[in-house]
């Protein structure tokens, strides 16, 4: 009975975590906008492993990914005052900044030299989930589960767009599929992903 109470309380806490984490992040960004270096350090410490994992996934190069990570947080330092909490969450803003910079860097690198083939990818080191707080680990699992439920024909265009920065035309060319088909599959996949994430979020509560 005790174990069940602990389990339920943990689930409730994790259910509340998104709101708590978001409020905290908003306060951090406000502090950063007020030139609080410690707040920037705290935000960095909170999100560095997730962001760096994203950048490595896109760039497949530690040196480039670290350079972009540095650029992202310097941009946060300069642009924190521009964040509007009425328009979205801090995490979304941060991830969007990071991905945008990484895709730009990927395109610049591809313009100068050939991108390494998939077979020559750097070994991606696993980081224990202990390095990521419990909330993000749980969310990571939910997103991975949702993606796994998408048909490959829908997941493929989404992944190519998000992690390789390809446009719909480029994806159509890569997959040898009609542009209209790619557009439909991407849109259908995103709608389904959103439904799955919303459904998992609701079932998370009591």
């Amino acid at each position: 009975m005790y174990e069940i109470r602990v389990y339920l309380l943990t689930r409730i806490f994790l259910r509340l975590q998104p709101e708590l984490a978001q409020d905290n992040d908003v306060q951090l960004l406000k502090a950063i906008a007020a030139r609080d270096e410690a707040a920037l350090a705290q935000l960095y410490d909170r999100y560095r492993v997730i962001l760096f994992g994203l950048l490595m996934r896109i760039l497949n190069n530690r040196e480039e990914a670290e350079d972009v990570l540095q650029e992202v947080f310097l941009q946060v330092w300069r642009k924190a005052a521009d964040f509007d909490e009425n328009r979205g969450r801090p995490f979304t803003w941060l991830v969007t900044l990071g991905r945008s910079r990484a895709i730009d860097r990927l395109r610049t690198l591809a313009a100068r030299e050939r991108v390494a083939e998939a077979g020559a990818r750097e070994v991606i080191e696993e980081t224990s989930d202990a390095a990521t707080d419990a909330f993000k680990s749980e969310q990571r699992g939910l997103v991975s589960d949702a993606l796994a439920k998408l048909p490959d024909e829908q997941k493929g265009p989404i992944m190519l767009a998000y992690f390789e920065g390809l446009s719909q035309s480029e994806i159509a060319s890569r997959l040898g599929a009609p542009l209209g088909t790619v557009k439909t599959r991407m849109r259908t996949g995103m709608i389904r992903l959103r439904e799955l994430l919303a459904g998992q979020g609701e079932s998370f509560g009591f």
């Binding site: 760096f52 730009d104 313009a111 446009s167 995103m190 709608i191």
Partner: protein
Amino acid sequence: MVHEDYKEMIPARALTALDAAEARALDDHLENCADCRRELAEWEATAASLALTPNPMEPSAAVRERILEEVRNDVSAAEVISFPATPRSVWSSFGSLGAMAAVVLLAALLVSLVVIWKQNETMKPVREFAQLVTTPGAKVSELKGIELGSGATASFVYDKTGHAMLMANKLPSLPEGKAYQLWYIVANKPPMPGKTFRPDDAGKGILKDQMPAGALDSPKFAITVEAESGAQAPTMPMYLRSFEID
């Protein structure tokens, strides 16, 4: 394009997967549609969830130190902008200014911007332009009117990620249905289309744009007059063009 067409494009926009023409059309629509802006924010949150799927990884400790060191050495707004020590390839059809003239020109530009800023704190575009100019690694280019655009001038600034802004003066007025269009010109490539803009009654024009990735490598700039919806390739002679600064 009807409103429903724009709404259908939003999920792809959240993935930044729209082709250039559709992206511009949707961006123009978003400037005037709060409903679609809200919807885009929701789809961007969905897209951001994908960032959780790669394996979390630990960057080296040095990254944190470099960030905090640079923050501590926060550059003031009066920083002198540095140009690359070694000029990139010269496009001989464009003229060049001496280094001294360039420094004087930029110093005058910055001084005039600061003066205007202090005189009127509400001049947001000027403030945004100045902020972009002082971004580390930002580059500035001056455009001058030629032939049909004689007398017009413009300043163009962009940062390392391609966020760009143009401020133009003394532009000839345009008939209905026409607009000025910015072009990005990189050696050995056809001109890449930028956004369009119309001047105000005083001949001033302001443009914010996101440069195509392929345009970031030593670009030159030109402005032509096209249909207000923009063109994929220049159809008219240049009104303004940039000078290379050594």
